[in-house]
Symmetry: C2
Subunit: 662 residues, 2 copies
Amino acid sequence: MDVLQFSMIFVGIALAGLALTALIFAKVVSFKNTDVRSAHIARLIREGAMTFLFKEYAILVGVIAVAFALLSYVMHLAGGAAYAVGALSSMLAGYIGMKAATRANEATTIAARDRGERSAFLTALLGGSVMGFVVASLGLLGLGGIFFLCASHDPLEFVKILTCFGLGASSIALFARVGGGIYTKAADVGADLVGKVEMGIPEDDPRNPAVIADNVGDCVGDTAGMGADIFESYVGSVVGAMALGVTAFAGRLEYISLPIMLCAIGLIASCFGMLSSFIIRMKIRHLLHMATYIAIAVFVAGSYAYLSYMNMNMNLFGSIALGAISGLIIGAVTDYYTSGRPIRQLAETSKSGAGTNLIFGLSIGFESVVAPICAIAVIVFISHEYFGGLFGVSLAAVSMLATVGITMTIDGYGPIADNAGGISEMSGFGPEVRKITDHLDALGNMTAALGKGFAIGSAVFAALAIFAAYCEYSHITSLDLQDPLVITGLFIGATLPYLLSAFTMRAVGRAAWKMVIEVRRQFKEIPGLMEGKTEPDYSRCIGISTHAALVEMIVPGLITIAAPVFIKYIFGIHGKMALGGFLAGATVSGVLLALMMANAGGAWDNAKKFIEAGNFGGKGSDAHKAAVVGDTVGDPFKDTSGPSLNILIKLMSMISLLLAMI
Amino acid sequence: MDVLQFSMIFVGIALAGLALTALIFAKVVSFKNTDVRSAHIARLIREGAMTFLFKEYAILVGVIAVAFALLSYVMHLAGGAAYAVGALSSMLAGYIGMKAATRANEATTIAARDRGERSAFLTALLGGSVMGFVVASLGLLGLGGIFFLCASHDPLEFVKILTCFGLGASSIALFARVGGGIYTKAADVGADLVGKVEMGIPEDDPRNPAVIADNVGDCVGDTAGMGADIFESYVGSVVGAMALGVTAFAGRLEYISLPIMLCAIGLIASCFGMLSSFIIRMKIRHLLHMATYIAIAVFVAGSYAYLSYMNMNMNLFGSIALGAISGLIIGAVTDYYTSGRPIRQLAETSKSGAGTNLIFGLSIGFESVVAPICAIAVIVFISHEYFGGLFGVSLAAVSMLATVGITMTIDGYGPIADNAGGISEMSGFGPEVRKITDHLDALGNMTAALGKGFAIGSAVFAALAIFAAYCEYSHITSLDLQDPLVITGLFIGATLPYLLSAFTMRAVGRAAWKMVIEVRRQFKEIPGLMEGKTEPDYSRCIGISTHAALVEMIVPGLITIAAPVFIKYIFGIHGKMALGGFLAGATVSGVLLALMMANAGGAWDNAKKFIEAGNFGGKGSDAHKAAVVGDTVGDPFKDTSGPSLNILIKLMSMISLLLAMI
């Protein structure tokens, strides 16, 4: 096959995916809510989310303009254009996904009221699938388009353009993740500290001035932020793999295009997975797993068929299969540490106070990194040694991400279910409806932990693929750990995730503090608020979160972007060696910290919920108070600092790869 | 000069150091306490400490016997013997230092009562100097002795013997640090949770059944544990440097012996530093700093003179000077993060509860790693690039540790001052005496944070020196980060510190829980205890801490020892590459985690003390309660898990070096 034929397949499948997305999107937004109260609440959430998104995008357009000018200058116009397309694709995906999610939330609530659990579940899943499929389709379209335009030209030029495209996706992800993470946790912590702890009103109570901001935060952080994160991993792994493929298989198109082909197969496989949840009749808890398994099985079978049909080196299939299942392994471990036996123990240690809860929770987080990281390490080793070499490792990364359509759908489901619970509570739909939405929300929490594990795992694989490409294009023959320069870079790089975590943790603390003061003020100054006679001023709380997120994302963002450039040039001619060490250090330290934070945070959250379900004294007991403290620490861990680190390691690799080529 | 002449200098200075130690020791233990109550308390502490030490040593003798047999079998009798000498030296140093410390504590109390602050300060310092000088002298004696016996023989054989000696020191350090750390924090947390929080009685109240165990813990953890830790770094850095020197400067004795010579110069310099604190009249707060500065200045000048006199390559002096000041840099940063502006802010965030206190405390810990690690990285780079190459880097490690006599003296001062405060409180010496001991204790806390920073910094340098030697003796030409095997090792190695932290945190949690139950039982079941009419059953609490420490140190200990062996052999012929990556990963991840824990722990501790000093509501306020929770988490961070990681990274390097040679 020639470039044109390959391109037609890629672009064709991408367009088909977009058409499917458009259909689902149309269905989701066509929903008309006739219930006045819930429609009002949902509109507040939607407007809050869109306000944040537009303000964020206004800043990002500035970032894109600067980066476009810079890249066009140091490279050429095509580089700048590819960057802009990558960035705008990520933003577009975020916008569409968010638009759907903030419609699907009320549709889910109404479905729970009128048509029962299963229908509500499918409504939420459909809403999430918009984000899932728009990410997968837009990514494939961009990659396929670049392949069509550039694959016949100079290979180095091709890789450069690809990298610029990936960099566009990365830089949006950085701001979306950091900003979204700060937004959501400032609102959440602020709402909890005053509403739940000081005033003693329940979660999602409409009297709480920060409650809408809290619900907006779920969309902003878990939908838009996660979407941009996964989009970056998806594109990044393909860029890394193709950069390696171009040099390893010069001119052999079926190999060079393989990473994009895997994405195309994965998109089709995701449709099968999605379809299965509408056809198969089983407990909804198992449906989410089943959809993933089916998608992965179809993907693996499809890849096998493709490789055989094209008469390609079947060793590569081993790497692909390993990559596809590695997401499951990470998921299983995450599941154990965030909802298995350790949670029961953690809840029990809460009985002796916040101190022991925190010590034990941290120890769960520490322990939880061992199995997944060793699994990733072993998969990297086997994949390289017995299957496809370095290219094989990068294919494993791609194949882990190829079924992103379904995994992101499930991630997108979570905040919709969470929001639906909030809306039903605030609309006074009664305990029957709340029970359904609570159940859907609990499912969402489970998948959120899985999703975070997956996001981190995919970040490592993507970073490794880009790292390998960096070494290749820097013409580094040996990045020797005996070279003190490499060690120096390794150590400096390893501190970066700690620095970023310090910034983001503190940003959440500061923003939450402002929120606390505002919420306290409203309870004090607005007459009739506590009695439910007056509506609080939701918009001021939304404003605080929005402002904090936008202001606080700037410094960490700039540090992340500037650090690799600084390392490369401060060490002069040795720069490329130091930068290589730096990337390795940042990756290894970042992934450990990210995983620790995600799992400890998940564990604290679920231990609190376990107690709230009536164990060890239930709500209001001393154990519960201790568990709430743990959860307050876990919130920025799992939703702000941890996820930001995923971006850090990918973005710095991507920038370095670009630096290696200019 | 020939081997004999060098050896005479080394052994001579070592013996002089030991003679000085013996003099100080005799003076310290000759103290007769005529006050019945304080003598009783001091005896309880002394007996508790000695009981633990003997029980621990009984286990360690078993470990030594096994290791002796193993090493004699896989190598030869001399290797086993060197191991045993190294191990027994560490144990002897711990015994002597502890014996002196548990006498000096009561002497300090009485001096504070009868002769005022300055005299009490000098008494405590003299007590601490026994540990400082016995560590420095025994280390020098062992190294000098091996030099005398083996330096004329086969160089490889010489390095092997040296490594066995170092391994002996390392393995004792592991158990002393882990066991001691668990002991002290189980007692501390247990005593605080019931005594201070539940019963509302003050710190060091004789009615608290765990109070003696708490005081014993200070000796066991901060004196014996720290001593073994520093002894290991001291010996380890010399072993690493000499291993590199033997191959780099074959047959040139003045270079090969330089690391030991630096220790000898450092020992003399430490005497000057020690002397200065008895001669110079200034505020005692500044005396500790002054003593260190003088020792370092004398050391640097002495090294310069020696290098010139011997007509050696003066480039090496640059590395030596850099190493000597790097301890000061780490100390300054540690000081800022654990007693500077961040502490005030941390205390302030405690006003909004334990959650925000914890978030902010963690963010301080995260941020605090950046400056010292980057400083170390830059020192490594400069030292290699502009001064002495790889051998220069290892000399920087040695010179940071050469003045161990004075730094360990200051470390040893802390727990004595702390104990003196406890004894005066329990003996009812009144507020005047307590004010003096409180002041001495505050000084000790400051130096403890510095000491921890120094211990971690020295561990990195020592580990790097041994790591370089490992690569040299494994005949690794290039430990290439592009090799997936090295990356695999890097990732697996990086998880080890997390695993060890999980174990040690949980061990403290479990042991503290048992302590809480026992203390509660005694308050409930012993009539007249709360009224102060009956003495509690101190020995049961001591027994709990002792038992927990000895049992819980075994699994983490075995994991640390077994991991490098496992990695080396599981990967077959590639084992040495994987192990190289593994060591680099464990070192970089371990040092970051250790530093984060030490500084966050120090920050929480001091923020609590800052509030207790009357700020933000003082004792009993909500801010204070929140700060106590932070301190409870910080305790195992800074005194158990963090310090254990120092050992982890050194011991695994040492084992690997040995594996490379057999």
